[in-house]
Amino acid sequence: MLELAYIDPGTGSLIIQTAIAAAIAVPLFFRHQIGRFLSVVRRRGDEDKPSAPLHDSTRGR
């Protein structure tokens, strides 16, 4: 890539772009994880719905 480039990609531009891309990826990662967590919670909620409230209240003890 760098061997083929005819424009100067810029030392600082190359280094900062990987850092920025990493920073962008962080919230994306968390959003993905939060999404997974929520979908698991929702699925569990759906599973729990048919169950009796009494059963549910005993779960944590």
């Binding site: 083929l4 005819y6 424009i7 990609p9 600082g12 190359l14 900062i16 990987t18 962008i24 990826a25």
Partner: protein, 484 residues
Amino acid sequence: MTAPGVADPATPASGTDPPAGPGDAERDAGSFRDPSGFIFWHDGQPYRQIQRSFAAEWDAFEASPLKQRLIDGGRLIPYETAPTERAQSADAHAVIRPEKIEFISYPYEWTFGELRDAALLTLDAQLDAMAEGWQLKDASAYNVQFRAARPILIDSLSFEPLEEGAPWVAYRQFCEHFLAPLALIARRDVRLASLLRADPDGVPLDLASNLLPWRTRMDFGLLSHVHLHARAQRRYAGNEDEGDIDAAKGARISRQRLEGLIRNLRGTVERLRWEPAGTEWSDYADHTSYGDAATADKARLVEAFVGEATGSRLWDLGANTGRYSRIAADAGKRVLAFDIDPAAAERNYRQLRTEGRSDILPLILDVANPSPGIGWAGRERRSLLDRADPDITLALALVHHLAISRNVPLPMVLGLFADLAPWAIVEFVPKEDRMVRRLLATRRDVFPEYSLDGFRAAATERFEVVREAPIEDSLRVLFLLRRR
């Protein structure tokens, strides 16, 4: 596509740089930066020679689904394969003939919306390319042109195979050519668009960072791609540290993160908004100095005169939001709608996009200070007058601004129109008109020649007066002029 090796004997008689002349091939003065090929002209048609050094990449691109995807999607200019005998030198691998762009315009002549659409096109092409295992190797704003009023990439050699893990080489160029000027217009002042004219390599990021309001650091995209980017450039400037060079050469980025970066750039560009209000003329069309009867009569006369003039390319100078450009386009002309006011031109562009029209392109132009030639030898990006080839000039409610506000003598104004095109449709607005009285209100009248007789005398120096018609219910006169 030429089979490898066939290009070998395809050498013109002279081999190198034939003398430029009508019909002779001439290498384009703006096509020299990328060693993989160049544009040349033959019989008024553009050709692109692809060098042997880029043969493998070119053949792969030609065979790729990406090429067709880009062309079908209206993102890359269509082209035909040309005979290799057309080649300009022995090191040619292939020659193509791209579709000709009717008028080459430059980023400093575009409205905010045009520059923004060109930026989005560039990023969308990069996303298309990445999806097929390719990437843009440059992101120059000069690789975008307007065809049928829509932006399109004209450089078929901009694509190269994506190297897994490599950062985007054109990231810096994209930020300097597109993001920085768009941010400056949207977040500081529309007049900073002229920085593009000052430097053919775009707006330096440290300058953009200095000029942008501090609060733009609250925007993640602008903070990263402009402010921190500028700091990184300063930090690593000069390549003084071997370790830095190694760090840059070793910079890796996964394909997923690279796509995230491009999408973030796209979102940052999309969030930049500029509302065309508060500048000189954008409300002018709604507050003209004459009544409905005069407006209707002027429209009728313009339509009649446009119909009488021959040729299809019309330049509307002082087009404002394009009322008369539309009349000319409805009469079958292809119109460039120039205005000095970026807000008027932007309003025109947005309206035209809504209407879905493709026969009018708004551009920004100060007739008293047209784009000069810039770049290498002053010829890399040609001056506006060097690119001018209209058949008809339309100049309505313009001459008094040039003659009185800018002190340009009438013979020079008419002389410019005569240099531009064989036909001119010109409105003369006399001193007694309310608009001219306003221009003269606070200054000494140093314009004894500015009169209807003076206008006629100036016009007949270069033109023959074909029609002269007073505009009903006003003091103004419309002329149809034909160059002698």
